[in-house]
């Protein structure tokens, strides 16, 4: 049954391991990607996300496991036979060739008929709006134009699966957000499966149908962006996503009567609204409560299941929003709020939030 599901998927990675000498870079990974899905591999540098992409592309020899693309076992196949196209961070355009030659080189080597090649190039150039650039050399192109050509080179291969290896990392912030939108449009138009590696959480959140958050060669969580954002499975995922970062209060879970509460240095947070993973069977013990700065409110009445008073340390205006830093239970705590209502440093404020929006983690860092 599981095998069948994997084989029906667009890309399926099964028990994939990769060792460089004694170092385990990827540890028995499993990943099923559906037809037409946009999946982002997200993680800090060195987490193995690029390595995983290179394994799927066939550019690295794996140590164990299997890889299926469109239901076909491609574990031992050459990259060119896997039905993939790939876009690289450094663009990897052939510098001595014009854009047109860059796009057509692989096709000519494969021996495709001339008119077929011309047709594919025309289509790719139209989609990416690079028709006026076709006769130029890569050196005469801007960074954004180069990346378009690099995408074009994957496009003309007429493949099922597109692999992107940090394609926007070499661009400045403005171009990055422009091209991000274009890649999203491209996906909507082509409906191909796309696997996209990045360390930028905004790219991940905006582009992905599903995000695979990786760390230390292991996929931590593989889910829709909102699910990962709202219900991180562990403290690493919770802390990695979101900017400004999630607040963590160290404390413990206590049982008072039938009710569970989170206690930390004078604070006591009722957990009756919190959706425990095990249905509130959790035993008391050390825990951390995580809450995103935008899920906390200041001075907004007492309708909150939890509220406490604190004094403001620092106020950081960020344009549309303002980040307010204060101490809660002796620990650093930030609140994101609209700028008009922001307090001043030194003010006494009331902090309130609904534990429903919080995430609780046990001592090992796993979600409770």
């Amino acid at each position: 049954m599981r095998a069948e599901r994997a084989i029906n998927a667009s890309v399926s990675v099964r028990d994939l391991s990769l060792n460089f000498g004694a170092v385990q870079v990827l540890k028995a990974l499993n990943l099923n990607i559906a037809e037409g899905e946009f999946v982002v591999l997200l993680g800090p540098s060195g987490c193995g996300k690029s390595t995983l992409l290179n394994c799927i592309a066939g550019l690295l020899d794996i140590t164990d496991g299997r890889i299926f693309i469109k239901g076909r076992n491609v574990t031992w196949e050459e990259p060119k036979d896997r039905g993939i196209g790939m876009v690289f961070q450094s663009y990897a355009l052939y510098p001595q060739m014009s854009v047109e030659k860059n796009l057509s080189f692989g096709l000519r080597v494969a021996g495709l008929p001339k008119d077929e090649i011309a047709q594919r190039i025309a289509r790719a150039a139209e989609i990416l709006q690079i028709e006026p650039l076709l006769q130029r050399k890569p050196a005469a192109l801007s960074g954004g134009q180069r990346q378009r050509v690099a995408i074009g080179r994957a496009l003309v291969r007429d493949v099922d699966v597109f692999l992107f290896d940090e394609p926007l990392s070499n661009l400045d912030a403005k171009l990055r957000s422009e091209l991000r939108v274009e890649i999203k449009l491209l996906h909507r138009r082509l409906q191909n499966t796309m696997i996209y590696v990045t360390h930028d959480q905004i790219e991940a959140m905006t582009l992905a149908d599903r995000i695979a958050v990786m760390r230390g060669g292991v996929i931590q969580q593989f889910d829709a962006p909102q699910a990962i954002y709202n219900r991180p499975v562990n403290r690493f995922v919770a802390g990695f996503l979101g900017s400004p970062a999630m607040n963590f209060l160290e404390g413990k879970i206590e049982k008072s009567g039938p009710e569970l509460r989170f206690a930390a240095d004078g604070l006591s947070v009722p957990l009756s609204t919190y959706a425990f993973a095990d249905g509130a069977q959790t035993a008391p013990g050390a825990a951390a409560l995580g809450i995103r700065p935008e899920h906390v409110s200041l001075n907004s009445g007492d309708g909150w299941p939890f509220s406490a008073t604190a004094s403001v340390d620092v106020v950081e205006p960020m344009g549309s929003d303002t980040l307010v830093w204060l101490k809660l239970a002796g620990q650093k705590f930030s609140v994101r709020m609209s700028s008009e209502r922001a307090p001043q440093a030194g003010d006494q404020v009331t902090v309130g939030f609904d534990p429903m929006r919080a995430s609780l983690f046990d001592a090992a860092g796993d979600r409770l």
């Binding site: 599981r2 095998a3 020899d61 794996i62 164990d64 299997r66 031992w76």
Partner: protein, 309 residues
Amino acid sequence: MNIASKSPILTTDADGFAGPRGPKPRRMLSRRNIIVYGTLLVVAVYYLLPLYVMIVTSLKGMPEIRLGNIFSPPLEITFEPWIKAWSSACTGLNCDGLSRGFWNSVRITVPSVILSIAIASVNGYALANWRFKGSELFFTILIVGAFIPYQVMLYPIVIILREIGLYGSLAGLVIVHSIFGMPILTLLFRNYFTSMPEELFKAARVDGAGFWGIYLRIMLPMSLPIFVVAVIIQITGIWNDFLFGVVYTRPETYPMTVQLNNIVNSVQGVKEYNVNMAATLITGLVPLIVYFVSGKLFVRGIAAGAVKG
């Protein structure tokens, strides 16, 4: 015997996955490996052959050489040729062996290496951090000068050395080596000091350090690797020099290479190939030791030193 277990990579797993698994099997003797390693092995043997022949020839007696095969190992090992090459081989009228040339070369190489590196490192530092009007122009002339054939400048230098009374002396040759080592070494140091963070230099100036203070206390301690590279370039280059040695010294002060050539290519007497090869090997020993000891630094040096030609 379980046949299926012999090829686990092609079996179907319990959960239904089938087909190739794990790394693609590669044969040790694939066509690619045979071509790559085969070619490299043949080339390596070809490159090592002269060294091998030098060694075995220098350990044979003359009768064995006349009868035998230059590639065969010595039947009877003798160190006689080495001793003769070192202490009693003849060049013209002198018969005190290569030892004199060896010590001449040492007396030439050591001061030349020190002087040329001292001049070039300070100079490269001045060019990198204390540019003055015209400094780049002189530097450009210096670098262009590196490409001028030495033959063009041979005689003018003879005149200069004669004027200052150093023609034919070791000191004169030391100056010549410092002059011709200058372009490459200055380039090497200038590029190295330019690549060092400028903030470091600025911070030292703000702290009140001057030209020599910054050089001695900040630049010098931070640039040990490049000094080692420079020493490697200079030792091998100066030790291996022939042209300047033959032009600017007298027979008593000939460096080793000149003396070696005179021993081997002298027309008088019977050719003693074993002594010749021992002498050749002894002369090559110093740069070979530098090469094998320095390893990667030598490679780094030649990338820069190649310009010297």
